[in-house]
């Protein structure tokens, strides 16, 4: 084995790759070869560091210097100064907006201070395409322990005792699910990894697959041992090409090392894994629809019971776990149920990964102990709202979840508290909205999504969501009628009660929760024909402020509807009947003389 005096870790996650990290790696390799450092310095392409906002990110060890927003032309300086002369390049170290503090290493950065990385522990640390690096970080040790020292029931007992609950949204206790799979009778059983991460705004599963694919393979093998399955499938979105590629490399390497296949760790346990690609259907994230899809059918959910643990894929007993759930398993086996249970709240143990997005300074992936407050996540870790705007709401759970208003900022986040206020954990997307976001429009956005993705099998979802969307469309067009809010609530409650699968049962949540917390916005749209956030085009009224208008005539020239008139050098006027609310005049006016 070769020893290097320095390691340069370059983020190869999707975020940093699109910010140009691949070119950085090329340049680093070229530069260190030219300087003759290639025997002393190793360049490693890792998975995601989480702080996508500041990408591309480069960390140089042993110092742990954390460089952000690195450009190709900066590479020469890092190589010359840091790698050759041993001087950290201060100019490129990560700077946080708030106090203009310069952080030298990852541990100094506010974004990481309150985090506790369990599922993401290897992301950004190891090269995901090299199995030896995973093994060096205790990889496959948990599988070895299970196969050689524990019975399947003992493995299940550890997972049960840990209190781990499904991270895909539902929050079902993982150990109990495994017990069902274990107890089911059958000559053939299956383990499925659900990597059909379809919730808009969530990308933790993608990051785990890209940054630490072996942890998923190891956990699936452990699950296979626990329930008595010898075959596993990973159902992954085709929209994630890097994840698919790295996972396939990892599977091939595991086979080569004898960690997949026959006689694993010298026992008679055999297990293999195959990747199946999704084809762009959100409903396939629902477990029974996913199985239909693997079987080669339209992805339409099946009624439950029978549950998959008894009658799942190809009619055989099957357990299906989400990527992030699985990524926790090897650590629980290695460090014990008590360690895992020491993090989190009474009924939600461990950590949860959230994808911070929307109107927030530090966008990216964060992993925090359950029970952290929303305020800590948004202000301490996320760095607050950009441009000094006011926080309005955070949306969790994607199209199945709801909006959390400012009054609940101090809520300790876990499965049960989120459900109690009408939202849900979902897969962990957390989108922050500020005063410019219209909540009726946000509800319409999610309904539009569910209407499009409804598979059409059951009428409450197929017809009900469509009717709700029509009402929302009417409201945002300024044609809302008294009684519309009540109708939305009634429809929503009926769909929740009557739909076949999780997609339909949760589809009304975004509407119901925004009505609950932002009813005044709905009322303003319906009764005053006004959009308080100034977002809904049809409800805007454009006016010229006479004191600011100098009568230059620019607005009148760009107006496509000839709605603006006025004498030269005199304040102009907009005819509201002719105005089509396109906003062209506002864009052209140099004097801020037009308001809406």
């Amino acid at each position: 084995m070769d020893f290097y005096r320095a390691h340069v870790l370059v983020c190869g996650g999707t975020g940093c790759t699109s910010s140009g990290s691949a070119e950085l790696i090329e340049r680093f390799e070229k530069d260190i070869a030219e300087k003759g450092l290639d025997k002393e310095v190793k360049i490693v392409r890792t998975g995601c560091f989480g702080l996508c906002e500041a990408g591309p990110i480069v960390i140089v060890y042993p110092e742990g210097a954390f460089y952000s927003r690195v450009k190709v032309e900066d590479v020469d300086e890092i190589v010359e100064e840091h790698l050759l002369k041993g001087r950290i390049v201060e100019r490129l170290l990560h700077k946080e907006d708030k106090e203009e503090d310069v952080a030298t290493t990852l541990d100094d950065i506010e974004f990481y201070k309150k985090q506790n990385r369990v599922a993401l522990r290897n992301c950004g640390v190891i090269d995901p395409e090299v199995i030896d690096e995973y093994i060096a970080f205790d990889g496959y040790k948990a599988l070895g322990t299970c196969l050689t020292e524990k019975t399947p029931q003992e493995v299940i007992d550890v997972i049960k005792a840990s209190g781990l609950r499904g991270r895909g949204g539902g929050g079902f206790p993982t150990g109990v699910k495994w017990q069902f799979g274990h107890d089911a009778k059958g000559d053939q059983k299956y383990v499925i990894c659900n990597a059909d991460e379809g919730d808009p705004g969530a990308f933790m599963d993608r990051s785990v697959l890209e940054g630490d694919p072996h942890s998923v393979i190891e956990a699936m093998s452990i699950a296979g041992y626990a329930i008595g399955a010898n075959m596993g499938y990973v159902y992954v979105r085709a929209e994630y090409p890097i994840a698919v590629k790295r996972l396939q490399i990892a599977i091939d390497q595991a086979r080569e090392y004898g960690l997949l296949g026959e006689g694993i760790f010298g026992t008679d346990f055999k297990f293999d894994i195959e990747i199946r690609l999704g084809a762009g259907a959100f409903v396939c994230g629902e477990e029974t629809a996913l199985m239909e899809s693997i079987e080669g059918h339209r992805g339409e959910p099946r009624p439950k019971p029978p549950f998959p643990a008894n009658k799942g894929l190809f009619g055989k007993p099957t357990i299906i776990n989400n990527v992030e759930t699985l990524a926790n398993i090897p650590q629980i086996i290695l460090k014990g149920a008590e360690w895992f249970g020491s993090m989190g709240t009474e009924k939600s143990k461990g950590t949860k990964v959230f994808a911070l997005g929307g109107k927030i300074n530090n966008t990216g992936l964060v992993e925090i102990p359950m029970g952290t407050t929303l305020r800590e996540v948004i202000y301490d870790i996320g760095g607050g709202i950009p441009d000094g705007k006011k926080f309005k709401a955070a949306q969790t759970g994607g199209p199945s979840g709801g909006c959390i208003p400012a009054e609940h900022l101090d809520l300790k986040i876990d499965y049960d508290t989120l459900t109690s206020i009408g939202s849900m954990m979902g897969s962990g997307g957390l989108i922050v909205m500020d005063e410019d976001n219209c909540m009726v429009d946000v509800a319409k956005f999610f309904l539009d999504f569910t209407v499009d993705e409804s598979c059409g099998k059951c009428p409450p979802c197929r017809i009900g969501t469509k009717r709700m969307l029509e009402i929302l469309q009417r409201i945002t067009d300024g044609k809302g009628k008294p009684g519309d809010i009540e109708k939305l609530i009634e429809l929503g409650e009926s769909i929740k009660a009557g739909a076949l699968c999780g997609l339909g049962k949760t589809a009304p949540n975004p509407v119901l929760s925004t009505i609950k917390y932002f009813r005044d916005e709905y009322e303003a749209h319906i009764y005053d024909k006004r959009c308080p956030a100034g977002h809904c085009q049809q409800l805007l009224v454009y006016e010229i402020i006479p004191s600011k208008c100098i009568g230059c005539g620019m607005c009148a020239r760009v107006c496509p509807a000839d709605a603006i008139t006025g004498e030269k050098k005199q304040p102009h006027h907009i005819d509201p009947d002719k105005c089509i609310k396109c906003g062209a005049c506002i864009e052209k006016c140099k004097f801020d003389a037009i308001k809406r």
Partner: protein
């Protein structure tokens, strides 16, 4: 679809893939994905070929082909541009990006340019929420976009021709 020998070679490749895959459990989706990779889309003739080779009714094939949004019955352009319409991108005004692309390419979402170079699509979340708003051209992601960036990016692909 090119000359006959070329087309025949494509059918032969698909036939070979079907032969090696059909024994596995649940082979239909991988086979249809492969067929789309080879032919670029799944026209009626290709679906019929799969139906005959696999001894599966045409209704099942057509049912699957029309259920999943990634299966295309019509050929797509050389470069497929997906504009992310996920939540994070939506609240950061992805609509403006989609409109800019529509103006630049003179086609509506779902449409293909007359020169068959680009297909424009509004897609589901691409999982790059940290870089919102984003688009994906083929397998390449472009993030933190403003409408004025669009002509430059499209130019890169036009110039490659």
């Amino acid at each position: 679809m090119g000359n006959t020998a070329e087309v025949q070679a494509k059918y032969d490749e698909l036939k070979g893939y079907i032969a090696e895959t059909v024994k596995k459990p649940g082979p239909l989706m991988p086979i249809m994905q492969k067929a789309q990779e080879i032919f670029g889309s799944l026209p009626f003739d290709v679906q019929k070929f799969i139906s005959e080779e696999m001894q599966i009714p045409m209704t099942d094939i057509y049912g699957v082909a029309t259920f999943y949004s990634q299966f295309a019955l019509e050929p797509k352009g050389k470069h497929v541009i997906g504009v992310c319409m996920g939540t994070a991108c939506y609240v950061k005004k992805a609509e403006g990006i989609l409109n800019a692309l529509g103006d630049e390419l003179q086609t509506a979402p779902g449409g293909t340019t007359p020169d068959s170079l680009f297909t424009l699509e509004a897609t589901r979340c691409l999982g790059c929420c940290g870089l919102a708003p984003v688009i994906m051209i083929d397998d390449q992601v472009y993030g933190r976009l403003k409408p004025e960036d669009i002509p430059g990016i499209i130019g890169l692909y036009r110039n490659k021709q």
